[in-house]
Symmetry: C2
Subunit: 333 residues, 2 copies
DNA sequence: CTGAAAGCGCTTACAG
DNA sequence: CTGAAAGCGCTTACAG
């Protein structure tokens, strides 16, 4: 007897199908084990009742939440959005849901969000920003949850890392610009740990070639299109003017190009610009932007693959998964 | 006696504090009711054990998931991102988490994501895209969950709607351009229901002024920066050339301006451009972009406010919450 | 292939 | 202000 306006539960389906609740549960979680005829009766009962399994009860009983927390600094203009897209797509394929946590550019909400994820017994926690707080890292390590750090390759990952070397990116850019004969770069550095790693890689490679340390300019976080005005204002009063500006993002690079043009300075003829990230705008901009391509979607897929391997009980030996990157020479430098 | 490597539960804390589990539960959910001295002992026990409440068990017992599903088409270059940011911030303040569901530009994954949300007994479901499928709307209506449709004001909301009138936006743009003396607009329409509403509003107002129906161009979804090339290619072969292009997004507007400049056509002197959304780039672009401001963050906050009122047992009488919009005249038109 | 039953870790009237 | 106890809706050995 199904009651009106009360949501049907496993028991209602079982009664209607003339089987035990255990069998209905198996029908959902282990279908190959139930007899075809039984399955058919259950299917009918489900259709009749409009039953939808209560996964929060299921999660408690099975000790699997099917919840993966994805913690990112922001979503507004974020370089991580392709990674988020890929993870959402992959995870929902397996019946998981993603909890989106926005930590803020300064990671100020990170600790609370991690607690929220652990309190829901998330099957996995995926971080995109670099988490430097050792207490927090230790806290996460002490839990049994899978935690995946993405977009970087820390020496000692909490658990598993999927990313690439930011110092290598910086070095690659330096080598490229050296090869093109640039003399006087300005390195624009965002106030973020990884941006500094790229800067370090650049400076090391640049000075290793016998050049003087490059000029630098720090911009605040989060990266905004409007910062390009700050950058350009700074550049305009430099003497001598740099011949190439290395930006921390394609958005910033695009803005700098627009400001340069508005000031009557041609890119790349009078000043060159390099971006980072290879967003769609990098290829579409006029001039198209020389940048570093990072396959954000692949990072997302690899992260989910690790989660799957863990769920399958597989031992993960290599805790560093390097997806690499690729410098793409276009018109702007 | 706490066991190593087993995660502490309510019972462990209770034993250690010398109280019942009921009291520890109250300590978390109804703190004003437990005696200060008792609370202190519980606090100590929590600290000693490193206890973190299992909210999935709590959710089952209390019939509150503290989970709100936010279903958006995409996150890559989405106009909804400010709304998402605001909702995440507000919801985590109340101890809720947000499930992010990416439905795809064509909403193809919407039904599955709704089921995933309902299966977790989400306390609320927030939609940003217009959901046209009547079966799905009915399905949602039959549940007791709060559902909030945002960024639009459908005549008959599933539950509550927070947004603005898209036809009014179109009409406003028409009136503005009429006032500025434009003669020959091209309306670029994305293949989306709401974009069509804005187009309808524009055309109605434009023709009501005694003008001929404007030229139109449809662009595919999702809106990408690269589409501006398509638009510009189309414009270049129009004869006579339009004197103003009405774009469905600021990103598209920006791209069109860049293409125009690359083709040696000055904006707004030779051709004007109007955007939609008032993203940061609209104000920062050269020329700055005339657009329609929508307060996406406010939409997010209002949606969460509705959720709170529901949680407090308040009756919601007005099912339409109009947050309005504002045409912002800048340099591009 | 299926069922009876214990258990997952909490919350919440009810009683005191 | 606090406790004993039932219950939330599932899953999963265990036995057959």
């Amino acid at each position: 007897m199904t009651q009106k306006h009360s949501i049907p539960k496993l028991d209602d389906v079982a009664t209607r199908a003339g089987v035990s609740t255990a069998t209905v549960s198996r029908f959902y979680n282990n279908p190959e084990v139930v007899a075809p005829a039984t399955a058919e009766r259950i299917r009918a009962a489900v259709a009749d009742t409009g039953y939808l399994p209560n996964l929060i009860a299921g999660g408690l009983a099975s000790n699997r939440s099917r919840l993966v927390a994805v913690l990112v600094p922001e979503v507004a203009q974020s370089i991580f959005n392709d990674t988020i897209e890929a993870m959402c797509a992959e995870l929902s394929l397996d019946g998981n849901i993603v909890m989106l946590g926005l930590t803020g550019a300064d990671n100020s909400r990170l600790a609370r969000l991690i607690d929220a994820a652990l309190a829901r017994r998330a099957d996995g926690v995926i971080l995109t920003a670099l988490m430097t707080d050792e207490t927090l890292r230790e806290r996460l390590r002490s839990r049994s949850t899978t935690v995946i750090e993405t977009w970087g390759l820390p020496d000692d990952p909490i658990d598993v890392a999927v990313g690439f070397s930011h110092t290598a990116v910086g070095a690659d850019i330096a080598r490229f610009l050296l090869g093109r004969g640039y003399q006087n770069p300005l390195v624009v550095v965002a106030a973020a740990a990884r941006a500094r790693l790229r800067r370090d890689g650049f400076v090391r490679e640049w000075t290793a070639a016998g050049r003087a340390a490059p000029d630098e300019l720090e911009v605040p976080l989060p990266t905004r299109y409007g910062h390009s005005r700050l950058v350009w204002r700074h550049v305009a009063q430099m003497n001598p003017r740099p011949d190439v500006i290395i930006c921390g993002s394609d958005v910033l690079a695009q803005g700098v190009i627009i400001e340069a043009h508005a000031a009557g300075v041609r890119v790349p003829d009078q000043i060159a610009v390099v971006g980072f990230g290879n967003l769609a705008i990098a290829g579409d901009m006029r001039p198209s932007i020389t940048t570093v391509d990072v396959d954000g979607a692949r990072i997302g897929r690899e992260a989910v693959a690790v989660l799957r391997r863990r769920a399958a009980g597989e031992q993960i030996v290599d805790r560093h998964i390097d997806v690499g990157f690729r410098l793409i020479a276009r018109e702007s430098a």
